[in-house]
């Protein structure tokens, strides 16, 4: 009996939600303990942080503004430039005038992408700032404009390469099929290549947003009043450098972590089988699955909304096994277990009453514990 309990416990610990929860708790404990030690030792002042944490709200807003504007404009430029990079070699091979017209465009885009990726973003920011202030010294908020232009130039180069990779990874067969139904080249790009590529590159595009947001911290060098500037102000003018950088780290984390989680959630939610994102993990968002997985939805029993194991198995095998055989098959129609009485005194048949701590807790939380969930998800296969 004891060994069965241990086996059940160890299986439960393998469940992803439990693992996630344990990991998060350990992380939180580590941070709290570490900060408390630093506070006691006098390196960090909780009182100062508590009194001044709103100071960075304005800078955070400005950093977000600069990043979002640059990213969106860069995105717009990156689509045609990525297409030029991806399809350029093919066009250059043609033996007509279009190759000659296209050659300088391809040369410019390639040189641009190489230049942006081959120089530090810090240099780019200072260079653009120098040029912009020299050209229009009287412009108000000239630093912010220069910063946005520099970040736009930078992210356009990186996103160009992301789009190039995305366009190149859409199979040749897809294009041939598009042509075979009479689509023009631009239509094939618009309706086939582009939407497929976008799904394939969602993750690199999010990574680029994260990298750009962090790169925006360098705008402090041209006195844009963004997060990093705020941290330096706290350090230099208020005399709390460690507190300032700790606070700014917290701001970056609070902005970036939820963003990437939300995007990967949407990515999984909107996924198309066989394209881009892998099959959703068995966990959702932070960890707990509240409803039955989607591809089992047709097996939901109408009354409870839960997966009925028998219905699931019967439907799965119904098309391969004739009716008469099905009725007697032991794995589909298990012999009833011993009858007993549950807590309310009503008769129970079939599944043993759930008694473990975990399953009771899971019930209270409205979750299905791993043991009660029934058959594990199978690899997605085609439907018959």
């Amino acid at each position: 009996m004891e060994s069965i309990r241990l086996a059940r416990l160890s299986r439960l610990l393998e469940e992803a939600p439990i693992k996630t929860a344990l990991a998060l708790m350990a992380l939180a404990a580590f941070i709290v303990v570490g900060l408390t030690v630093l506070d006691r030792a006098g390196f960090v002042s909780f009182d100062f942080i508590a009194a001044n944490w709103t100071f960075l709200l304005g800078p955070a807003e400005l950093a977000l503004f600069a990043t979002i504007v640059s990213y969106v404009i860069g995105f717009g430029f990156a689509i045609p430039m990525g297409a030029a990079r991806a399809f350029g070699p093919g066009i250059l091979k043609r033996r007509d005038t279009s190759a000659w017209i296209f050659a300088p465009i391809y040369g410019f885009v390639s040189g641009y992408a190489e230049a942006v990726r081959g120089t530090p973003v810090y240099v780019q920011i200072l260079l653009v700032h120098g040029l912009v202030t020299a050209a229009v010294p009287k412009l108000s908020a000239v630093s912010l404009w220069a910063g946005i232009i520099a970040l736009t130039i930078n992210t356009a180069g990186y996103q160009t390469e992301v789009f190039r990779a995305g366009f190149q990874s859409v199979g040749q067969g897809q294009l041939e099929a598009a042509k075979s139904i009479g689509m023009r080249k631009f239509q094939a790009f618009r309706y086939i290549t582009f939407p497929q590529a976008l799904r394939l590159i969602t993750l690199p595009l999010v990574n680029e947003w994260i990298a750009l947001f962090k790169a925006s911290s360098l705008l402090s060098a041209i006195s844009v009043l963004e997060l990093m500037w705020g941290a330096q102000y706290i350090g230099v003018n208020l005399g709390h450098p460690i507190d300032g950088f700790l606070m700014v780290s917290f701001y970056y984390l609070v902005i970036l972590i939820p963003l990437s989680r939300v995007v990967s959630y949407i990515e999984r939610k909107k996924r198309i089988p066989g394209l881009g994102t892998a099959e959703p993990a068995r966990t959702r968002f932070i960890g707990f699955r509240r409803t039955a997985p989607q591809d089992l939805s047709s097996f939901l029993s109408e009354s409870s909304g839960r997966v009925s194991r028998d219905a699931f198995l019967q439907r799965r095998v119904a098309h391969t096994i004739p009716d008469g055989v099905l009725a007697q098959h032991p794995s589909i129609d298990p012999p009833p277990r011993e009858r007993g009485r549950d807590a309310e005194g009503s008769e129970t048949i079939g599944a043993a009453p759930r008694t473990s701590f975990f399953s009771r807790t899971a019930d209270r939380l409205g979750l299905q514990s791993g043991l009660a969930r029934g058959p594990r998800r199978r690899r997605e296969s085609f439907q018959h």
């Binding site: 897809q174 139904i181 089988p273």
Partner: protein, 241 residues
């Protein structure tokens, strides 16, 4: 209906098609057989101009279509093509795969296109799979959707490039059934295949190609029953194993 006159095609130094002539009349089924690398697929691709022939003419209803004056997109709308590897659009459902050409190429209103697409899916026996994505379908089902996609544009001729070669044996017959039905309905078809049963049962003409040339041509009985050349005899014995 469809005629090919003296087609040559080079891929670099490789002379893939060495002067092909053939003619298919309306409602006829032409089966092309031959060892791999003999230029069968390239010939099909030349007919719908996915590959531009270097020499020779492709005529559809007497019009030379491989001329600079005619847009290849227009030609391809008249010709349905089914690929060995299905090539369904992976980001679209079965229904969207079929209706995309109607809305974007034929500029049909969305509702009308959907109705027609559903009808085409029903024709290939997949009305219930309209909302499935290609990755959720078996190979046979994917190929039937691909046939429906080509049929939706109401083509004058259908080209099949080894439509069953990438399929598991259990799914081959469902695709062949659809093709037999199409042939019975009077569709003009050019089929590259190794399915001897289909060729014998359905074809009006059979062409045996080798090394970019037509080696033998005739009715199935002539070509399979009384092969004249050694090359065809050895090919048949290999195919029948």
């Amino acid at each position: 209906m469809i005629a090919v006159r003296g087609i040559h095609k080079w891929f670099g130094p490789l002379h893939v098609l060495r002067g092909i002539d053939l003619e298919v009349t309306k409602g006829e089924v032409l089966v092309i057989v031959g060892p791999s690398g003999s230029g069968k697929s390239t010939l099909l691709r030349c007919i719908n101009l996915l590959v531009q022939p270097d020499e020779g003419d492709v005529l559809i209803e007497g019009v030379k279509v491989n001329s600079p004056k005619i847009r290849p997109e227009w030609v391809r709308q008249q010709i349905g093509m089914v690929f060995q590897s299905f090539n369904l659009f992976t980001h679209l459902t079965a229904l969207q795969n079929v209706s995309l050409g109607l809305t974007k190429v034929k500029k049909m209103p969305a509702q009308e296109a959907e109705k027609l697409a559903r009808y085409e899916l029903e024709r290939v026996g997949l009305a219930d799979k309209a909302s499935s994505y290609p990755a959720q379908l078996s190979g046979g089902q994917q190929q039937r959707v691909a046939i429906a996609r080509a049929l939706a544009l109401n083509p004058k001729v259908m080209l099949f490039d080894e439509p069953t070669s990438a399929l598991d044996p259990e799914f081959i017959h469902e695709v062949l059934d659809v093709m037999v039905k199409l042939a019975e309905e009077g569709m003009t078809m050019i089929v590259v295949t190794h399915e001897m049963g289909f060729a014998k049962g359905v074809a009006d003409q059979v062409i045996f190609m080798d090394a970019g040339q037509i080696v033998e041509a005739g009715t199935p009985a002539e070509v399979f029953g009384a092969p004249k050349t050694e090359r065809l005899r050895s090919f048949i014995s290999k195919i029948l194993g």
